[in-house]
């Protein structure tokens, strides 16, 4: 057997095994401990069908990964499936015909009836056609509190944002940073969004974010918001970490009193073996307004020439939303499932709170769904500048209103 025949034999083996199972490359940016545990649930379920999940994790936040994903799709080197936050991010890709139409899969699976809240499916829909599979619901309006830190300070764990602000001096006296905050624009923007809904209330928020009414953004409700954010900024002065999970880790270890972060922080607490109610607590809507936004992750499937891959893509799409996969994935991720008809009894206290709010209809669309990436980036820039400097609240409010006035 000379080298050439060996090579031929090897090629034959490879191509034979490729024929029986379809390899799908799936890109996503789930790289923290809890996230990686969750995505492996998808991979296991897909591998169990006899196909192969090729993991294309992209380190860094969505801001790093999204451009890579989009340029691969635009550049003619598409992956088989990719995570994106549904909303307006993929609008133009759909218009350019680069993403696979999943309407037939959705109709076969009856997505219209099972997806709850239905606004999630609406974000996947363009001109009546469905282009993505929502896989989870993430809400950003959560305050995570460290029991350890409050024990050190000798005060009771607060039950809403106002109590938290009042308890901050005691925390500082005990050498604890009151608020953990990663120094990245999106985290500061998330904190701003959470405080907005808690302080300004739903009507003002909707008027500004959905209807882009700059007058309301200049009004007294938003003045109160910016003052609250300015005081939060002082509470987070000592927090120099960058990534969100480092900030969550400050809460886990009790070096910080609290963190404003989305429900994905839950996964980090689980990985650290912390128990809800004993080691940490969570306050959806900051304990003031029991309302959660319903952003989340969705999977998109770029158009592919190979009919075999296209069939596998549709199979994967159906799998991601199937009841068993939804339960195992969301338990690991700490997010809420997209279908209301499954049993989430295994979920812990925080998720139960979230499910309760969802069942009561306390939902609103996420910023991703209302604002374009362009506007989001400008607001993130403003927030990054505001949180790291001594910019007065009134100046930030004026700049914010200008961005809203320009928003499309």
């Amino acid at each position: 057997m000379n080298f050439r025949t060996k090579l031929l034999a090897a090629t034959a083996i490879v191509s034979a095994s490729a024929a029986s199972a379809v390899e799908l490359e799936v890109t996503h940016w789930w790289t923290s401990g809890g996230e990686a545990a969750a995505v492996s649930k998808f991979a296991d379920a897909w591998n169990a069908t006899g196909n192969t999940w090729v993991d294309g994790a992209i380190a860094g936040s969505g801001g790093t990964a999204r451009p890579i994903i989009i340029s691969r799709i635009l550049g003619g080197d598409p992956m088989a499936a990719t995570q994106l936050n549904h909303g307006r991010q993929a609008e133009e890709l759909i218009e350019a015909g680069l993403l696979l139409d999943l309407t037939d899969v959705a109709e076969a699976g009856g997505w219209r009836d099972i997806v709850n809240p239905s606004s999630l499916l609406d974000s996947c829909t363009l001109d009546g056609r469905i282009y993505c599979v929502p896989v989870n619901i993430h809400s950003a309006q959560w305050l995570w509190l460290s029991h350890d830190a409050y024990e050190k300070a000798g005060v009771a764990v607060p039950s809403d944002w106002n109590e938290f602000v009042a308890s901050a001096p005691a925390l500082e006296k005990a050498g604890v940073t009151p608020l953990a905050m990663g120094q990245q624009g999106w985290q500061q923007n998330l904190a701003f969004g959470a405080i907005t809904i808690a302080v300004a209330g739903l009507d003002a928020w909707r008027e500004v974010t959905v209807n882009k009414n700059a007058d309301v953004a200049r009004g007294p409700e938003y003045t109160a918001v910016f003052e609250a954010v300015a005081s939060a900024r002082e509470l987070a002065r000592e927090s120099n970490v960058q990534d969100w999970n480092q900030a969550t880790n400050m809460v886990i270890t009790g070096t910080a009193g609290a963190q404003l972060m989305g429900d994905w922080a839950q996964g980090e607490f689980s990985v650290a073996q912390q128990v809800e109610g004993e080691d940490y607590s969570c306050l959806p809507g900051l304990g003031l307004n029991p309302i959660l936004d319903t952003g989340g992750d969705a999977f998109y499937f770029p158009v592919n020439d190979d009919p075999e891959i296209t069939a596998a893509q549709k199979e994967l799409a159906a799998l991601l939303i199937s009841p068993e996969v939804q339960v195992s994935f969301n338990l690991a991720k700490g997010s809420l499932p997209v279908r209301g008809d499954i049993d989430m009894a295994a979920a812990n206290g925080c998720m139960q709170k979230g499910l309760g709010i969802l069942a009561d209809g306390g939902v609103l669309p996420s910023g991703d769904q209302s604002l374009s990436a362009d506007t989001q980036t400008q607001i993130e820039d403003l927030m990054a500048q505001f949180w790291s400097s001594d910019m007065p609240a009134s100046e930030a409010q004026a700049k914010y209103a200008d961005i809203i006035a320009r928003a499309d």
Partner: protein
């Protein structure tokens, strides 16, 4: 292109300058085409689309100067430009001065010259990302330089440039200089080696001191070397991007943003190509404003004279 299309009959009558070194010219056609299509064509396309409202995909809906108005109205862009000017000024000055001093020292026929040269040049072999990350750790107050000095007993020592908006650009500058000085030093050293030994002898005979000889005789003789260095440093400054991304990612807040990062962020993260194109066009304009008068003085004069 023109070479191939011209009829060869002409060459028999009067030899055309175009047809000298025919092979060399044919060989350079691919490069000429690349330069025309990719560089010039790409630049024109970008400038053209900076007047459109392109979002994620380029399209031709003209919006006039709206992108530029928004650009110069944006705090982040203004901060980026100021940062680049600051970084550029200090980087240019310090690189030239430090590199020349190092080269002059090595040129004094010291021992282990090869070893030192290698040590100084080594940082240049690292990518900016590695440099940025390494210096992010070195300058980290918890386990970097500050904690080492405090460990020696100087408890009140404070050195935390990266977390202070006022000093963060200097933190970047340290890393940039550390990386870039070695290469310029080698170029300068090569220049110094090119200086005739007799010049030194003559200076010694005339009783001119070493420093004075360097400043008044050697440096003017090294003009071409300085120009090469200047071009290398300047292009490094304009495209400053990866160092910032690795070391500070624009932070704290937006206080270490640079124009190249604005372009990338607005083109891909904000999915606003028009805005990114407008910013990159401004970068091009700034280079052209500096480059054209200089190139005219440097090269234009010689041709006429």
């Amino acid at each position: 292109m023109t070479v191939a299309s011209d009829p060869p009959v002409q060459t028999v009558r009067k030899p055309n300058r175009m047809f000298k070194n025919k092979m060399a010219k044919i060989a350079s056609i691919p490069m000429i085409l690349t330069a025309l299509c990719v560089f010039v064509g790409g630049t024109l396309w970008t400038v053209l689309h900076s007047f459109t409202g392109s979002r994620m995909l380029p399209k031709r809906d003209w919006v006039g100067l709206a992108q530029y108005e928004r650009l110069w109205d944006s705090d982040r862009w203004i901060i980026s430009v100021k940062n680049l000017a600051l970084y550029g000024f200090f980087s240019l000055t310090f690189t030239l001065v430090v590199a020349f001093c190092l080269a002059a020292c090595l040129d004094r026929k010291i021992r282990f010259e090869n070893t030192f040269r290698t040590i100084f040049l080594y940082p240049f072999a690292l990518s900016f990302v590695v440099t940025g990350l390494a210096w992010q750790w070195i300058l980290n107050p918890q386990f970097g330089f500050q904690s080492v000095v405090r460990g020696w007993g100087w408890e009140s020592f404070n050195f935390d440039p990266l977390n202070n908006p006022e000093t963060v650009m200097f933190g970047l500058l340290i890393a940039g200089l550390w990386q870039g000085t070695g290469l310029i030093m080698c170029i300068m050293l090569a220049g110094l080696r090119g200086i005739d030994e007799d010049i030194w002898k003559a200076a010694r005979v005339d009783g001119i001191g070493t420093v004075k000889t360097y400043v008044q005789v050697i440096i003017p003789m090294m003009r071409p070397v300085f120009i090469t260095s200047l071009v290398l440093i300047a292009s490094g400054i304009i495209k400053l991007y990866d160092l910032v991304v690795a070391q500070t990612n624009g932070g704290p807040g937006i206080s270490s943003e640079v124009p190249a990062k604005y372009v990338i962020n607005y083109m891909f993260q904000a999915q606003n190509l028009g805005q990114g194109f407008a910013a990159s066009t401004m970068m091009l304009v700034s280079v052209v404003i500096i480059l054209i008068p200089w190139a005219y003085l440097e090269f234009g004069g010689k041709k006429n004279g």
